[in-house]
């Protein structure tokens, strides 16, 4: 007997039964296809919604929280900032260039859908090990895709992360964050109101690319290579030039006040955009499937309705404004077609011609609100108790050669960031090399400089979260706060991209639930609202789940931008201070992972101490009292010092570090400051006044990286290793400097 249709579309038997209940009859093929994409894990968050509800979403200045296309916060001077982060992991695993390119395209549309001009992208990227040829192929393709799309569409990529670890072999994490700005009063929501208003499809034609992307690709794991290759047609193809014209046209339509609501077309295509706008507005919609311009002949209605062809938007306009809308679209050379009409009654009807046969008729809201909600089984791994982990785990190895172990961690990621335009719009005060990006804040309509800046950071750490997803996620929030502090910014809002394994595995759902709780605790402690998020499950390859990888994007504000942040700069003769207290704990560290150790117990995070450290660092940075500032995280104090040295071309001489456990510990709430001798007392007074512990650990200068009794390396050797690691591994790029 052949497999029932609903199963081949990705629906369970229970889900098919729910659809029968909703409709009071058997659904036809088209209707089933529409439910299948809308009720997919990717679109409906059916496994995660019960947990995400625990995240704190309220806060001062929050204009739009989770659930819309992007979160929006008020950043003062009549300016609102729209922020969103998304994953494009599965498409990038199958087709790295297009997967990454369309990830950028999709998130840009989410932002200008809110009425905001996208001003910055960030790309937290995670790939398999550098010595794995396929992982290198994926990395090359992903970086080229982001470069090719982002540069051409004209939005700077100002930062991100680049991580290589075997947990991501065959399943890279390609997350992308976008920040946009809008005049506060221009905020628009993706809703359809007003019976008789028109739904106008803008942009590209609709083709067979990306059919079932959300259900086939994003909501299932990967199997053998042959079946993975079969999924390639489910990856969309991007056209950045079309997107650029679409952005300009949509912003002009919004400026002219010609749209009632606007919605991007991403996952689940026209089905999602029409049903979402209608149900948000409490309305229904008639859609003429024949009015949709097609890229290829012979497409079936279910293909048209679920295609994920890129560079399309749906605008809801009043009939009287249609001619003006069409004129603006013609100026920007983008296609515009009336494909739908807003109706009352709440039904989404798909018609074969305005007066033709009704091909599908479903309650628009049922595609969203009636989506299943799963309380998936949760189970902690065996031996999870802290006592067990302390006693039963493998012992931490001894450091053999701290110098070599340090060199193994050094990698310059400018091979990646130099392929991205990170300067467009003349905002980038600190770019990809910084702990956080810093962008001048100009009014998006008038261009007036506010004298302030926005700061952005993306952070994740799968090693911490593999050891302890709850504390690990809290430590990531803390790291973000400190990354913003070293550029002089205070945090204002969080978005998250939760990359996990198969939610049908109870241990994965436990990791997920723990991560949500850790994020909740830390965000509450730091007073940070979560304004949006994205969940990517089924990150697994051949049955093995990836390490839990929540990635956070945190937006900060620099209240007075008077100077560039000090960055990782070292000046010979300047003193080095370590702010905060080191816990000599190596569990979860990059050093431990490199030595093959997993498990253990993460160092403790005290959020009150952390807030004090971050506050003091911020004060010193904005006051111009420090010449260099770098947070201590992956690779610990040792890697932080080495990064400052190789980037500056200035050596360091450090003492009073008790051993490798202190040198490579990743315990939170610490930063290195470089301070000119003449202001050292001032700086120490500020730290003492704030009640923040610190230690004088050494001095910058010379041509060696020396940590007394632990390591002594020629600076030139470290610079060479640092600079060459990625270019040599990934193929020769044009290397600067």
């Amino acid at each position: 007997m052949p497999e029932p249709l609903h199963r081949s579309l990705g629906l369970t038997d229970d889900e098919a039964e729910s659809i029968r209940q909703i409709l009071g009859r058997e659904p036809n093929h088209l209707e089933l296809a529409m439910y299948a994409v809308m009720w997919s894990e990717h679109c409906s968050y059916k496994s995660s919604r019960v947990h995400l509800k625990r995240l704190p979403t309220e806060g001062e200045g929050v204009l739009v929280g989770p659930g819309e296309n992007a979160g929006v916060v008020d950043v003062g001077d009549g300016i609102a900032a729209a922020l969103r982060i998304e994953s494009h992991n599965h498409p990038s695993a199958i087709e790295p260039y297009q997967g990454a390119a369309t990830g950028a395209g999709g998130i840009l549309r989410d932002i200008f859908t809110m009425g905001a001009r996208p001003i910055a992208l960030m790309d937290p990227l995670r790939f398999g090990s550098l010595d794995d040829a396929r992982s290198r192929w994926i990395a090359e393709g992903v970086v080229s895709g982001i470069s090719g799309y982002g540069n051409s569409v004209g939005v700077p990529t100002v930062g991100g992360e680049t991580v290589f670890d075997e947990t991501y072999a065959d399943n890279p994490l390609v997350n992308v964050l976008c920040l946009g700005l809008l005049p506060k009063e221009r905020l628009v929501l993706g809703q359809a109101t007003g019976v008789g208003n028109l739904a106008v499809l803008l942009g590209s034609t609709t083709g067979r690319d990306g059919i079932g992307g959300v259900s086939v690709l994003a909501s299932a794991g990967f199997g053998d290579e042959e079946s993975d290759a079969d999924k390639r047609p489910s990856v969309q193809v991007g056209d950045p030039f079309e997107e650029k014209r679409l952005i300009e046209a949509c912003l002009e339509l919004l400026d002219a006040g010609l749209v009632v609501g606007i919605q991007d077309l991403g996952g689940a295509g026209i089905t999602c955009a029409t049903s979402e706008t209608a149900s948000r507005g409490g309305m229904g919609m008639d859609v003429d499937v024949r009015a949709i311009p097609l890229r290829e002949e012979g497409m079936e209605p279910f293909e048209i309705m679920t295609s994920e062809s890129q560079e399309r938007m749906l605008a809801i306009v009043e009939p009287g404004g249609l001619d003006q809308v069409l004129a603006i679209c013609e100026k920007w050379e983008i296609r515009a077609s009336v494909i739908g009409k807003v109706t009352d009654g709440g039904a989404l009807r798909i018609l074969d011609g305005w007066d033709g046969e009704v091909l599908a008729e479903v309650p628009a809201a049922s595609l969203h609100d009636a989506a299943p909600l799963y309380h998936r089984p949760i189970a902690a791994p065996a031996g999870w108790s802290e006592a067990d982990r302390r006693l039963a785990g493998p012992p931490m190895p001894e450091s053999v050669d701290a110098g070599k172990e340090l060199l193994d961690m050094l990698a310059d990621t400018s091979w990646v960031s130099s392929q991205y335009d990170h300067q467009l719009f003349l905002n980038t005060v600190e770019g990809p090399a910084g702990d956080a990006a810093v962008l001048r804040l100009k009014h998006p309509a008038t261009g007036a400089d506010t004298g302030r800046a926005l700061a952005l950071t993306t952070d994740g750490n799968h090693r911490w979260c593999a050891v302890d997803p709850r504390r690990g996620t809290a430590m990531i929030v803390a790291e973000s706060v400190l990354n913003l502090a070293v550029v002089g910014a205070r945090p204002v809002a969080v978005v998250n991209c939760l990359n996990f394994g198969n939610p049908e595995h109870p241990e994965v759902m436990w990791q997920f639930s723990e991560a949500v709780d850790g994020m909740t605790e830390a965000c509450l402690a730091f007073g940070l609202p979560v304004i949006g998020g994205n969940v990517s499950f089924y990150n697994e390859s051949r049955g093995s789940d990836i390490d839990p990888t929540p990635v956070l994007g945190v937006l900060g504000v620099v209240d007075r931008l008077e100077r560039r942040p000090p960055g990782t700069t070292l000046v010979a003769g300047h003193r080095l201070l370590l702010v905060g207290v080191t816990q000599p704990e190596l569990s979860g560290s990059l050093w431990a992972r490199n030595q093959g150790h997993r498990g253990g117990v993460l160092p403790a995070l005290d959020t009150a101490v952390h807030a004090a450290v971050a506050g003091a660092v911020r004060t010193l940075v904005t006051g111009g009292l420090v010449s260099g500032a770098h947070d201590v995280s992956s690779g610990g104090l040792g890697l932080a010092l080495a990064e400052m040295a190789v980037r500056s071309g200035v050596g360091v001489s450090v003492a009073r570090i008790a051993g490798a456990a202190e040198l490579f510990s990743e315990s939170p709430s610490r930063a290195i400051l470089a301070v000119a001798p003449e202001v050292l007392t001032n700086v120490e007074n500020v730290l003492e006044h704030a009640g923040v512990p610190y230690a004088r650990i050494g001095v910058a200068g010379g041509d060696r990286i020396t940590v007394k009794d632990l390591l002594d390396l020629p600076l030139a050797e470290a610079v060479g290793v640092w600079r060459d690691r990625l270019p040599h591994a990934l193929g020769e790029g044009t290397v600067q400097g």
Binding site: D239, F241, D421, T734
Partner: protein, 230 residues
Amino acid sequence: MSPRVGVVLFPGSNCEMDVQEAVRGLGGDAELLWHGDATVGGVDAVVVPGGFAHGDYLRPGAIARFSPVMAAIQAFAADGGPVVGICNGFQVLTEAGLLPGALQKNRGLKFLCTMATLEVASTDSVLTSACTVGQQLQVPINHFEGNYTCDPETLAALRAEDRVVLRYVGNPNGSMDDIAGVCNESRNVVGLMPHPERAISPLLGSDDGVPLLRSLLAAAGAAAGATVGA
């Protein structure tokens, strides 16, 4: 009266707002020139900005050269009007025959966004008159196709006629003779791959683009004066 600088907007251009901001910051007036209009609207100078005009499909600048505004720019330049092409604008000007040579893919076959060190090779152009020969400038580059090339005769002519206006120090992209910018025979049309508008403030890492843009505004001011005088 402030000199008026027209900044050309093709579909796919993306540095047009930045150039306007930089020009205004230095006291000039800036306005957009739509690619579909066959006029430069009486401006005193024209900048063809960076970006990906018409998506850079086919070849950078290959489609843009056919836009109606390009004929007007040809006529404006032939009349001695100052014209500067930055990055994609340089590519457009070479495709349109306003400047010699061509820009091919970078030596490393990668897009490259980084700070470059430039040396002023000639001050006899509308973009470098306020500089000194040998002056070093920190100005960002941001391109995939910035590797300047031309035939040997053209290169010999460029050198003999002092028409290489900017050279790279530490050639980042493989450009022939380290060329970062060149001018036409009349010295009123200049193309360069680096982005002077991105180097207008220490907050952005450099303000070394200022003398270049001031040179252009001076030329525009002179052109405005000449027009008034005529």
